[in-house]
């Protein structure tokens, strides 16, 4: 059931828009279902028509105009130039073909490390999380990665319960020490703002906050100190109305956004 268009942008839509802006034309991106998929299609329909979208299930460069409800779903196949296997798509990471990947997080620390394994002690956890899936592969191997996560104090923590997926590990130089080929997380996009990692320390810093979001709110929802907070904090750019409409058209049934 489509709803009439509303001009107030939602947090999901802001995240999708901010993520779509990180696509460069020609990027080969490994895309999961959910917000990254909408962001990828929005980018491909606008400023990055030559981006190649690879789905983990092996679908290459799909051009679906409506959203599939899962990575293995067949609607995605129509318009694809190649269908192959989970094995093949993950092999592209090893080959270095994938230069952009997206990650989610149950917990994230100041270095962009991610926990998706347990809350509490590993052996006797309070909550057992679904696990790494392919995130570790993406985080380790893709040239650039972007983390999309809801901004909540229980998720933005000083110390992870478990390090499932490496960001910058202990800071500058750590990825090199462990021999991880990818460059590490480029940005973190939340419902409150956009964040980057300081070049010297590799700790998270504020790049911009979304409209109507206060610094106090962000600090309240973050369990660690930012490395850098601009004196005058930029407001995240807003999508033009046509682009907002494009994003909404991609998911008319609100399977992924505004659900």
């Amino acid at each position: 059931m489509k709803q009439s268009v509303n001009n107030v942008i939602t947090a999901d839509e802001m995240m999708v828009f901010a993520a779509s802006q990180l696509f460069k034309d020609g990027d080969v991106a490994l895309v999961g279902t959910g917000l990254p998929m909408i962001a990828a299609y929005a980018a491909k329909q606008t400023h990055a028509p030559n981006a190649v979208l690879v789905f983990e299930s092996g679908i290459m460069d799909a051009k679906a105009s409506h959203m599939a409800s899962g990575v293995g779903d067949f609607p995605l196949v129509h318009g694809a130039v190649k269908t192959s296997s989970l094995f093949d798509s993950l092999s592209l990471l090893q080959k270095g073909t994938i230069n952009l990947g997206f990650l989610g997080a149950a917990e994230i620390d100041a270095y962009g490390n991610i926990n998706s394994t347990v809350i509490g002690d590993y052996q006797t956890p309070k909550v057992r999380l679904p696990g790494s899936g392919g995130a570790n592969d993406i985080a380790s191997m893709a040239e650039r990665t972007v983390i999309l996560v809801k901004h909540q104090k229980r998720k933005f923590v000083e110390k992870l319960n478990y390090l499932t997926t490496p960001g910058y590990i202990d800071g500058a130089g750590s990825r090199e020490k462990y021999g991880l080929p990818g460059q590490g997380p480029e940005k973190v996009i939340t419902d409150l703002g956009v964040f980057y990692f300081d070049a010297a320390t590799k700790r998270m810093s504020i790049e911009s906050l979304h409209p109507q979001v206060s610094l106090e709110k962000v600090i309240e929802e973050t369990g660690f100190e930012f490395q850098h907070i601009p004196e005058e904090i930029p407001v995240t750019e807003m999508p033009k109305p046509e682009l907002l409409q494009t994003i909404r058209d991609l998911d008319p049934d609100k399977i992924y956004i505004n659900k």
Binding site: E56, S85, Q94, V127, P130, M141, G179
Partner: protein, 297 residues
């Protein structure tokens, strides 16, 4: 040629308590659910399970008390919620869950399928504490790699579209998605069981040999089980049963209700057809429809 067409009961019978089983299917597609129900009915115990991305398939085996240890990238309802029986058993210390990245798992099945004991991979992991990963130095350039121990389970079970009675197995023409992993899974085991939507004639297989994914020489048992992946999808033959999956997710939060589910749907079903009757024809057929089914149609 010897027929390998068995009843489900017979096909599953060789699985031993304490044995290792690789389970086909990925995420919400093509897990061999009928065979897993039969394993639960036969009260197999202390199984070691291998899978890629798992869900209700493994959760049910855990809830029914069949499982000792798991190797999988995830056992989940969706990207954010772990399966509840898994979570409970894990937190109570009743199972060992060896969680590994997907890429590593696919390589381990591939290595097992090639009957090699390990495979090198470019270093992509912080690998402390993972007993299936070791360091390995290249004998050519002296660089450090990681060695992955292959998966070579006792038994593999996958669900496919069709096979002849001799065990030549085919996927439908749209076979290319994650299916390769199922082939690796099937080939990794010493004993391979394939459940299929349809048993077809050998002539039908010979009409289209390029779509054969497993030759009879690599298959030990085939069983015809329509809707054998329910509530998961089987590519374009039927979609996943979202409402049943939601139902499972809801009731599995309460151990007592989950136990009742196992009683009602599995132990209390004399066969897979009995289970399908409980799901109901209207629901099953709606899963193959491209149209939305309205109301109580």
């Amino acid at each position: 040629m010897k027929t390998k067409n068995f009843l489900l009961k017979e096909a599953v019978f060789p699985i031993k308590n304490g044995g290792s089983i690789a389970i086909g299917g990925t995420a919400l597609r093509r897990h061999p659910m009928a065979a897993l129900h039969e394993i639960i009915r036969q009260k197999k115990r202390d199984l070691v399970l291998f899978g890629t991305i798992n869900a209700v398939d493994i959760d049910l085996l855990i809830a029914a008390g069949c499982v000792k240890e798991i190797y999988s990238s995830a056992v989940q309802f969706d990207n954010e919620i772990s399966a509840y029986a898994l979570e409970k058993a894990f937190s109570e210390g009743n199972i060992i869950f060896n969680q590994q990245p997907k890429k590593i798992i696919t390589e381990q099945f591939r290595a097992g399928a090639s009957s090699i004991d390990f495979i090198p991979l470019r270093k992509s992991e912080i690998m402390e504490g993972n007993k299936y990963i070791q360091k390995l130095v290249s004998p050519f350039n002296g660089e450090e790699y990681i060695a992955l121990k292959s998966f070579q389970p006792d038994v593999a079970i996958i669900h496919a579209h069709k096979a002849d009675q001799y065990g030549n197995v085919q996927f439908d023409a749209n076979r290319s998605l994650e299916d390769d992993i199922d082939i690796f899974i099937a080939e990794s085991a010493k004993h391979t069981i394939v459940t299929v939507e349809q048993i077809v004639s050998e002539a039908a297989i010979e009409d289209d040999p390029a779509n054969t994914v497993l030759p009879a020489s690599l298959v030990d048992a085939v069983v015809e089980i329509p809707y054998g992946a329910h509530p998961f999808s089987c590519d374009e033959r039927y979609e996943k049963d979202s409402s049943h999956l939601e139902y499972y997710k809801k009731i599995s939060k309460e151990p007592a209700e989950l136990n009742k589910y196992i009683q009602d749907y599995i132990l209390g079903s004399s066969s897979w057809y009995d289970y399908l009757n409980k799901i109901g024809m209207a629901r099953l057929l709606s899963l193959s429809s491209r149209q939305e089914v309205s109301g109580n149609a």
